[in-house]
Chain length 173, copies 2
C-alpha cells in the first residue's frame, strides 16, 4: 500500500480566516482582505502591526478552532481505502500548537489514529506522495510532491499543483 | 551529512525510575524492583494494580521530570558535529505527553532545535541510523537500526545492540 503524507495548515486546516478575524478584531482590517499572489498573509498587514502575527500564532487556542478546508475530510477518508495516510505537520515550531492540533485532528479527523499523525520540524518523512503548501518541504522529499494551492505559493510553477481536495481525489482515487 | 534518528523513552529519557517511584508511593512496591529480562515493567507489578501504569503515563507531568539517560547529552552533542541528528518519539500515543516532552527536551537538550524534533506514531522516518529500544520501529526502517538496551528487549538477538551512550560514541564517532 502506497503511503501519502498530508500537511495540516493551508491544506486541511485554514489559518487565513483565523488571522483575518483576529486582525479585524484588533485593528479593523477589512474582512475581505485580498491576499496578493505569492505573498504571505502577514505581509498584507500594515508594518506597525504585523508583529501581531507571531503573537497570535503562539497563543494557546489559535490552532484549535480553525476551519476545515472544504472536502478534505471526505477525500482523506476515501484515500484511506487505497493508501496508508499520514498527517505530517511542522507543529514543533509552536509549542502551544501541539495539543490544539492534536485535539483539532481528533475532532475533525477522528478516523485518523495516533499512529498516523506526525508533528515535526523538517519533514524527513518516508512516503510516496506528500501534499503540502510549502515547497521547502519538497527539497529533500524522494516521493511525488503535490503542491496544495495557497496564496503564498501561487507564483510557483515547478511543482505539480492541486487547487482543491476534489482535484486530489481526481488525481489519486 | 548522514542522518541519525534517536528515540526518547528508554533511550535518552528514563521512564522506569519514574514508574517505580509512583508504584512505590501508591503501593509500597520495593524500590529495588528488578525487571526480568524480556519483560515490560508493568508485567512485574501485581495484576490488581497494573492498570495504574496507563493512568500514570497519561497524567500531565509524567514525562516532564524523567531522568536523563547517562551520557546521552554529551554524546548527542558530539554526534551533531558529524551527523544531522533528530529526536523521534512516538509521543502521539499520549496526548498529555506532547508538551511535557517538548519542555523536557528544551531543558535537557537545548542544543536540539525544533526542526530536529519529531513526535509521531509509526516512525516513517527517512534516516541512515535509528537508535531505538523498540524493534517494531525497525520493521519498515531502511537504514541501520541500533537497538538501545532496555529490560524489555534483553532477549532480542537479531539486531545490532548498544548498551550505553558510551558504546554509541565508540560506534559512531
Amino acid at each position: 500500500m502506497k503511503r501519502i503524507a498530508i500537511d495540516m495548515d493551508e491544506v486541511i486546516a485554514d489559518v487565513i480566516p483565523k488571522f483575518i478575524k483576529l486582525y479585524n478584531r484588533d485593528f479593523g482590517t477589512p474582512l475581505d482582505l485580498k491576499i496578493e499572489a505569492g505573498n504571505e498573509i502577514f505581509m498584507q498587514i500594515p508594518q506597525d502591526v504585523d508583529r501581531k502575527w507571531l503573537e497570535y500564532i503562539n497563543e494557546v487556542g489559535f490552532f484549535r478552532d480553525l476551519e476545515v478546508i472544504p472536502d478534505s475530510q471526505r477525500v482523506i477518508k476515501a484515500l484511506q481505502e487505497k493508501y496508508d495516510v499520514y498527517i505530517v505537520s511542522a507543529a514543533m515550531e509552536f509549542r502551544n500548537s501541539l495539543v490544539d492540533k492534536y485535539d483539532w485532528l481528533a475532532e475533525h479527523f477522528p478516523f485518523i489514529d495516533w499512529q498516523h499523525i506526525m508533528f515535526c520540524g523538517n519533514k524527513i518523512v518516508e512516503a510516496d506522495v506528500l501534499i503540502d503548501d510549502r515547497i521547502k518541504n519538497f527539497v529533500n522529499f524522494k516521493g511525488r510532491p503535490l503542491l496544495y494551492t495557497s496564496p503564498h505559493n501561487l507564483l510557483i510553477t515547478e511543482y505539480e499543483r492541486v487547487n482543491t481536495w476534489e482535484e486530489v481525489a481526481n488525481l489519486l482515487l
